[in-house]
Structures are given as C-alpha cells and as structure tokens.
Amino acid sequence: MSAPLDVEALKEEFLFKVFDEKTFSFSGQALADYAIACGETASRYTDPADADFQAPPTIATSLQPGQRMPKGFPKVAGLGMDAGKAVSPKAPIRPDVELLGKSHMQDIYTKTGRSGRMVFFVIRMEVFDPSGTEVASADTSVVIREKPSV
C-alpha cells in the first residue's frame, strides 16, 4: 500500500533539471548496420563512403542515459511500461563524433480511467555535438499504473 504520487510537487522539484550526462559515439559501420537493419536504402545512410554519410534520423532514441531517473526521485508502486518514444533530428549525426546526451524530466502528467490513475513520465535527452550544436532530442515516455491504496 502506498500513497498516490503528488504530481505537482514532483514537477516542482524535478522538471527541466539535467540529471544525467553521458557521451556516445558510433562507428560508420555501426551506423550503416543500424540503418540497413531498419530498411533504409539510401546510400547517405547505408554506405560509410558516401560523401553525405550520416546516422539514420531516429538513432537518438537508442541512446540510453547512465541513470534512468533523477536522484531522489521516489520509487513508484505500480506496473511500469514503455509508453512511447519521440525523436526530433535537428542536424546530421556523423560517424566517430563524440556526442553528449543531457537528460532531464520534461513532463509528468496523469490520466485517470476506470481502472485507476496512470502517471506518465517524459524523459528528454538533448544530444549535442562537440561544437555544442544540438543535433537531436529524444523523448522516452514511461507510464505507471498506480496500485490502489486500499
């Protein structure tokens, strides 16, 4: 048995505060394999020798932060599920470039249905190249169906 989350208090404490920074890099072959496995056919995604070779546009959603939630974030009683992912590519990601992913809590919201309340957490990772240019952002939504407090 646990008390329902105080969503407004969580938003006040955790929204928009970077809680994780992690670096990433992909070889040209890894980028090409990723793209080919997804079904891409254009050489700018599949051939590392192409002059405009770059990562497929959804690759930022594959980047996982070092820690999934902010330190001090309460453990939520309930069933957690990956509810979805959104990605916004902003500039080409090239091979062998060190990327910096900064993660923060973007949103916390609830939906209530007949079976109870579901709490959604949206974690956003903003990805930067070595010049500080944001090359992509990726949102991961996790939904937890709260256990009834009876």
């Binding site: 394999d33 990723y34 254009a42 546009p57 992912k85």
Partner: protein, 137 residues
C-alpha cells in the same frame, strides 16, 4: 510513385505498404549496431521465460522501420519528428506490415504529416506513429 517535392504529395494519399525484416538475424544485426542486444530481443526461449510469446523487436527498431518507409516513399525528404506509441509487442520472426497516410500538408513550410500503423498478420495494431516530414517546396 516516388515523391520528389511537395507538389507530388496529395492529401490522404497512402504510402506504399512496407513489410519490415523482423527476422532474428536482422534484429541481432540491429542489436549489435545499437547496443540493444538483450536476450529479450535476440533469444526466443529467454523472452518466453519472461512471459512474452517470443523475442521482441526493440521499439526503437520499429521506429526505425517507420523512418525507412518514409524514405522509400520520398527519398529526399527530411524527417523532422517521429512520435511513436508502442501498443503491443512486435514479435521477432513474425510477419508485420506498415501502412501510412498523409494527413496534412503545409504548402508554406513544406511540411507533411503522416500517420503510420504497424500491424501483425492478424491485423492487430502493434505500433502507432506520427511523422512530420519536410519536402522541397
């Protein structure tokens, strides 16, 4: 018809259906490239022990399928956003197909909105997606 520019796109047009490669070998290739190579994705027996019907195609791979489908339809398009909802597992070695339809065209910005749906052979929806794609005006 291959789409080159915005004028080639009509509201409500359906994209050519795409049947992604969900074979174990291809998911393994994706896992090796992305680092998403948990046995949940690459080992049917392991996934069954976790309560799934079989190994799972990673959600991020399904999202990659959606982007590839758009590029096959409009090779020069630039994807600005893909929002994906995972409704149910996509099982490895099971045939799936993706359909897509143009739901909005912005003549000023060159942006096209596309709704995408990934279903299994029983026509059960597994993944839903919405994409925003830029085409030359």
């Amino acid at each position: 018809m291959t789409i080159v520019k915005l004028a080639d796109v009509e509201f409500g047009v359906e994209l050519p259906v795409f049947e992604p490669d969900t074979s174990l070998a291809n998911v393994q290739r994706f896992g090796d490239a992305s680092g998403w190579n948990s046995p949940r994705f690459t080992d049917h027996e392991h996934a069954r022990k976790e309560g799934f019907p079989g190994a799972l195609v990673p959600g991020i791979m399904s999202q990659g399928f959606l982007a590839a489908m758009i590029h096959r339809w409009a090779p020069g398009s630039v994807i600005e956003n893909v929002d994906t909802i995972f409704r149910a597992p996509v099982i490895v070695d099971v045939a799936h197909r993706i359909s897509g339809v143009v739901t909005d065209i912005d003549e000023d910005t060159g942006l096209v909105e596309i709704d995408l749906t990934l279903v299994n052979a029983a026509e059960e929806t597994r993944v839903l997606g919405t994409a925003s794609v830029r085409l030359p005006v």
